[in-house]
Amino acid sequence: MRVGGIGARYAAWISTLALVLLATALGAAGVIAFRESRLVQEEIHGAVAAARAADEDAALRGTGRYLARHLFNALYQLDVERLNEEIEQVRGWLPIESFLVLDRDRRVLTDGTTENARYGDPFAEELPSEAGALQILRRGSATEMRFVVATGGVVAGWGVVTLAEAPWQASLRRLEARTTDLWAGRRASLLSIGAVACAVTLGLGLLTALRLSRSLARPLTEMSRAAGEIAAGNLDQPLTLDSPDELGDLARSLNRMAGNLRAHEDALRAERSDLAAKNAELERFTYTVSHDLKSPLVTIRGFAGLAVDDLAKRDVERVRHDLERILAASEKMEHLLQDLLELSRIGRVANPAEDVPLGTVAQEAVELVRGTLDRGGAEVEIAKDLPVVRADRRRLLEVLQNLVENAAKFTAGCPSARIEIGVRSGSGEPVFYVRDNGRGIEARFLERVFELFEKLEAGSAGTGVGLALVRRIVEAHGGRAWAESEGPGRGATFCFTLPQRGGAAAVPTPAGPPAAGSTATR
């Protein structure tokens, strides 16, 4: 049995209850036994006393002498009321069947009753004549006692007392009555003690049940409430029950379950949000791609039709012109499709992350677009303090190549064109940038330049995928990309961040289509 567990607690409580019950029963039995022994002692004393009184004649004589003396005054004064009171008292200790008090004329003065029905009746039988004399007559089970009520030679009258039974029988009867009373008393005692014991047990039982129910029901109620909260989706209210038993285990399990559910829910929410964003992006992408691919197709169809007409006219020059336009539109479409393919690769192909010296990569990027730079006449400056970053080297090169190429385009023709590749401190993270002093961007287009096929200058070279590609790669690394400009003619700065080293070991593979926004070349 687990120490401190529910089983142990139950056992402790039940043991306590049993001990209390046992103590109560033992206490009751003790009280009863004690009382019994006392009562038996009293019985024995009574029996001994009764046996001593068995010398019946002696006892009767003693009684007669007492009555003769005791009734004298009342009888002499003919005080019937007092005589009746005396007789009533004697009835309390002798089994009186009848008690007649006779006056000096041997007539009944009183029979001790209120009705006094025998008043005046003459008593015709023999009576003792001398003071102190006593007659005892046996009549079946009854005994009659006749005595002179006299004092100092003065006779006031007689007493004639009939006892319904012998005194020893009366003693036995009294004993029997006493025993009956005792048993009745004992029964009453038992009932009282039983009632008290029941009340005590009931009270203790109730208290125990109350404590048990509090001890058990409270955590269960708490857990039920918590389960209800979890079922209702409220996972932020942990159970506070800190119990060493199974209930505590259950509470902790519930808390863990709620925590897991919460984590899963957060992940699901994030994924759902991401999915929704990607859906929206896909919609935009589909629309943009179909729209931008349609444009060269229209061109091709138009010039194909013109070429047919020009052939009919046998205008070779016009036909050549038409075909050249058709070829140009085809090339443009091919570029578009290549860029799209590249963009989609970012989401599907993951290269292992590695430590990449950003300065070296920047230099490579500059070399790759050297032709464009030279045509535009821009100078490039690469900061010397560019750090080593953890990234997909090839993709990082693409980012810098696109940004430098973009800067070269928009500084072309500008006097003292200059492009800087550097790093600055952001809010707790390094911000890499490619800054130019070219034609700049209106504030309202700062975000739009990252959208797919978006070109701020319609006649500019490129497909409008480059900046979209940049943002896509940076975000795939867990960073951010944005544009800054103080306005047209004030140059532009394209910034991006990358996670600190020690972050992702490989470039994550975002699900969904490539970002529908995109860069555009200025």
Partner: protein, 259 residues
């Protein structure tokens, strides 16, 4: 006694409380003198007693005024009966001259004061048997302490006649009553009296009288009255009652033999 009258007092408190009258405690006086002194000191406001003690208190304290009749066990008034042996020679009060009358105790109205007053009204002189008077016209009396003793004493020749109230006569054992004969009855007197101390404020007295007289109108009041030694109700004293009381007061001259 406190318990017996306690309920009556409680009901009276209930009825007088709305009038702002506070009912005090119950006093049980052992003797007439004690009660008389309490009346003089103003410690007692009203008294319930039988006729004779009331007249004695009135005489001694000069501060008592009977107000209501106490009807007990349905009996508004009673009378005393004079009885003798069924075959005895006595036929009238006049026959008691020179004989012995068995009375009860001096404080009893019906078994002492009233018979004594009746004899005196009839022109007979009455005195205790042990004062040595040998006047053959004098009526001597002995005291038997209880009604049953009075009857037995007459039958056993300790006296020639006895006197107590008609209710006790009826309650005698048949065997005894059958051997006796009533030869005279007094005029009726009221069973008991409720009297106010003369110093009690008239408004208080009037309201208390009204409250007491109306106690029997509801169950709780009747129960309280019954608990108080079997009182049935309180009734206002009539002019006839007052006339009779005046007559008795004159004849009884309390203060002599009564304690």
């Amino acid at each position: 006694m406190l318990r017996v009258f306690g309920e009556l007092l409680a009901r009276l408190r209930e009825r007088l409380a709305p009038a702002g009258i506070e009912v005090g405690d119950l006093v049980v006086a052992r003797e007439v003198d004690d009660l008389s002194q309490r009346l003089v000191r103003g410690e007692v406001d009203f008294v319930i007693e039988t006729v004779f003690p009331t007249l004695v208190l009135q005489e001694r304290s000069r501060r008592l005024s009977p107000a209501l009749v106490v009807v007990r066990r349905g009996q508004r008034e009673y009378r005393s009966v004079f009885f003798t042996k069924r075959d005895g020679p006595i036929r009238s009060l006049a026959d008691l001259r020179g004989r012995t009358l068995v009375l009860q105790v001096p404080r009893s109205t019906s078994a002492f004061a009233l018979p004594k007053a009746e004899l005196e009204r009839a022109g007979l002189s009455v005195g205790p048997a042990d004062n040595g008077t040998a006047d053959r016209h004098h009526v001597r009396y002995v005291l038997a302490l209880s009604e049953i003793n009075q009857a037995v004493w007459v039958l056993h020749g300790r006296g020639d006649a006895g006197a107590f109230n008609d209710g006790d006569w009826t309650a005698l054992p048949d065997r005894i009553r059958s051997q006796l004969r009533v030869f005279h009855e007094t005029r009726p007197v009221v069973r008991g009296l409720l009297s106010f101390r003369t110093g009690v404020e008239p408004r208080v007295r009037r309201l208390a009288e009204e409250a007491l007289a109306s106690l029997d109108e509801d169950e709780a009041g009747r129960a309280a009255l019954a608990a108080a030694v079997g009182v049935t109700r309180f009734e206002p004293l009539t002019a006839a009652d007052r006339q009779e009381l005046r007559g008795l007061a004159t004849v009884l001259r309390p203060g002599g033999s009564a304690r």
